[in-house]
């Protein structure tokens, strides 16, 4: 059977703890399913008390000592408390002190889990210097980012999503002549294929570019896809304003001169009741954003070349 993302993380962790002398820190690690079955039952696991502010400092200290610790933050929202030592010490140590603090931060996200358990915060950390930031959603992506961590000496913020943990598949980027390039980040990537289908039925064709390297933002495949389309849309599972999607969209727009829109969560807190949720953009919301972008473009400029059948429909 193919390996899931959770099994991949577990295996990487086992090797690190058993063979590299690595340490893993976290709260309630051994309880309730070992963090969605992503942590092995092996040596070198240190149970943290619920002291979220101090805990990160302790883990960073272990990184200074060279054991390349993994710290598990069960919900990304707890990063608000766990940030200071990471942002102000670990991420600055190389540039300012000439020392290294390589720590691997597993920050888990989850959809629709209420006002303080639904956060996707990679955008916040992208704002700060000194990290590598990624959001792997497949087994091979996870292996790649782990190898990257082991070959660099800076902290890595890994924006995981529980929605990916049982996935086994790898994601395929497309690069055909098409109307729009859809660029996906984190759990938003799960909705791209359906959005492509919805839009195809309406005569709008899409390329898909999956992004899991947020900092440095690895753009080669995105730029190739975008070169074959008129416009792009970056979709993220985090907040839209000042978030990863806006930041990457700006970057892509500047590099290509093509219009690239951003789509993420609305600017409001996410509640529990279905009506008050503020969720990862659905396939329908992605499709609607693309439709709107097309309409705007149709009004504002010459759209020859964008599938004609659809453009005539868009005008009605």
């Amino acid at each position: 059977m193919a390996r899931t993302v959770a099994e991949t993380i577990k295996e990487i962790t086992r090797r690190h703890l058993e063979e590299n002398g690595g340490l893993l820190f976290g709260q309630c690690i051994r309880a309730v399913g070992w963090v969605n079955n992503s942590v092995p039952d092996c040596k070198n696991i240190v149970e943290f008390p619920a002291s979220d502010v101090g805990n990160m400092g302790i883990a960073c200290g272990a990184a200074v000592a060279g054991v390349r610790p993994i710290i598990v933050i069960r919900f990304q929202d707890f990063m608000w408390l766990n940030s200071s030592a990471l942002v102000n010490y670990a991420a600055k140590s190389k540039e300012i002190f000439g020392t290294t603090t390589p720590i691997f931060v597993r920050a888990l996200a989850m959809a629709n889990a209420g006002c303080t358990h639904s956060g996707v915060l990679h955008g916040v950390f992208m704002h700060m210097p000194g990290f590598r930031i990624c959001s792997p959603m497949s087994p091979c992506e996870y292996e790649e980012i782990w190898d990257d961590f082991m070959s660099h000496d800076v902290p890595m913020f890994v924006s995981e999503h529980r929605g990916s943990f049982l996935h086994t598949e790898e994601y395929v980027n497309t690069c055909q002549p098409a109307d729009v390039t859809l660029v996906g980040i984190s759990a938003a990537r799960f909705n791209l294929a359906e959005a492509v289908e919805i839009l195809a039925e309406e005569g709008i064709t899409c390329n898909v570019a999956h992004c899991y390297w947020l900092k440095p933002f690895k753009t080669d495949h995105v730029l190739k896809a975008l070169a074959n389309t008129r416009m792009g849309l970056v979709v993220d599972a985090g907040f839209e304003i000042c978030g990863a999607a806006q930041s990457l969209a700006y970057n892509l727009m500047w590099q290509t001169g093509k219009p690239v829109k951003a789509l993420g969560l609305e600017d409001r807190s996410s509640g529990v009741s279905p009506a008050s949720r503020n969720s990862t953009p659905s396939a329908e919301r992605i499709a609607e954003t693309v439709r709107q972008a097309f309409l705007e473009k149709a009004e504002n400029q010459d759209c020859v070349g964008i599938s004609d059948a659809r453009m005539s429909g868009a005008g009605t």
């Binding site: 309880a31 303080t116 509640g271």
Partner: protein, 262 residues
């Protein structure tokens, strides 16, 4: 205690029937602490954490608004947006918890400082480990604030017992900071006498050892509970059966009233 128990058993049922859009944090088994403390603290402002239905009900909060919150309805105490972890009733006043473990301890402390009103902060044995919880105890001692900190100590952080997390006692730390402290079982009579004493010398910290019967979240059980204080008092209190039946019926009616509308 009966009100909390039977309200929560209905909440558990609603959860099992998938009528709650979010999860539930139930205090079944832990009723004695808030039920007893509330008898001695009318008019206190109340802050709790995720397992807060019990405090809301004990302090006279509106059970219908709590029920509706669990059901995700606009008539809920947070408009259905907060869910189980965010029990509140401003009439008490009791303010909602937001999800960051233990932060309501600091918020309760600041409220007591500025309002000068007697204030209660309920929290668990894990929340008490949070850095800002410890600094709040110290702040309250320094400023002689009218706060009673109530640690509902079920010896669990999710499923991790204290011995796997630390080798020190929170009440001893609070004591060393100058708070009046106690560490007791959840026997209602004992709680009553201890809290009566502590309220005379706020700020104070009481650690009440409780027994959570159900899982951290949801309604699962890992076997029979170590003890059941409510059950114990069924045979100690005259008329216990009649009292419990009355409460049970009214809680049943409360839930039915809403569920029949759905």
């Amino acid at each position: 205690m009966c009100l909390i128990r039977h309200f929560e058993l209905h909440a558990a049922q609603a959860y099992e029937q998938k009528l709650t859009p979010g999860t539930v944090y139930l205090a079944v088994g832990q009723e004695a602490s808030s039920a007893t403390v509330s008898m001695l603290t009318p008019g206190y402002a109340v802050f709790t954490q995720h397992r807060g239905h019990s405090a809301l009900l004990a302090h006279g909060g509106d059970p219908a608004a709590l029920r509706d919150e669990l059901l995700g309805l606009e008539s809920g105490c947070c408009g259905g947006r907060g869910g189980s972890a965010c029990a509140q009733d401003i009439a008490i006043p009791m303010y909602a918890h937001h999800g960051q473990l233990g932060e309501s301890i600091a918020i309760a402390t600041g409220y007591a400082l500025a309002s000068k009103k007697p204030t209660l902060a309920y929290f668990g044995d894990a929340a008490a480990e949070e850095d800002y919880a410890l600094s709040s105890f110290g702040f309250a001692a320094t400023h002689k604030l009218p706060v009673l900190y109530v640690c509902e100590d079920n010896n669990l952080s999710i499923l991790t017992p204290i011995e796997d997390r630390r080798n020190w006692n929170v009440y001893e730390v609070a004591d060393s900071m100058g708070l009046a402290t106690a560490n007791i079982d959840d026997d209602p009579v004992l709680i009553h006498d201890t809290v009566t004493r502590l309220l005379k010398s706020l700020p104070a910290f009481i650690n009440i050892r409780t027994c959570r019967h159900l899982w951290h979240t949801g309604v699962g059980r890992d076997g029979p509970p170590e003890w059941d204080r409510l059950d114990e008092y069924r045979s100690k209190v005259p008329d216990a059966e009649a009292i419990e039946n009355r409460v049970k019926e009214s809680v049943e009616a409360l839930w039915q009233e809403q569920l029949q509308r759905q």
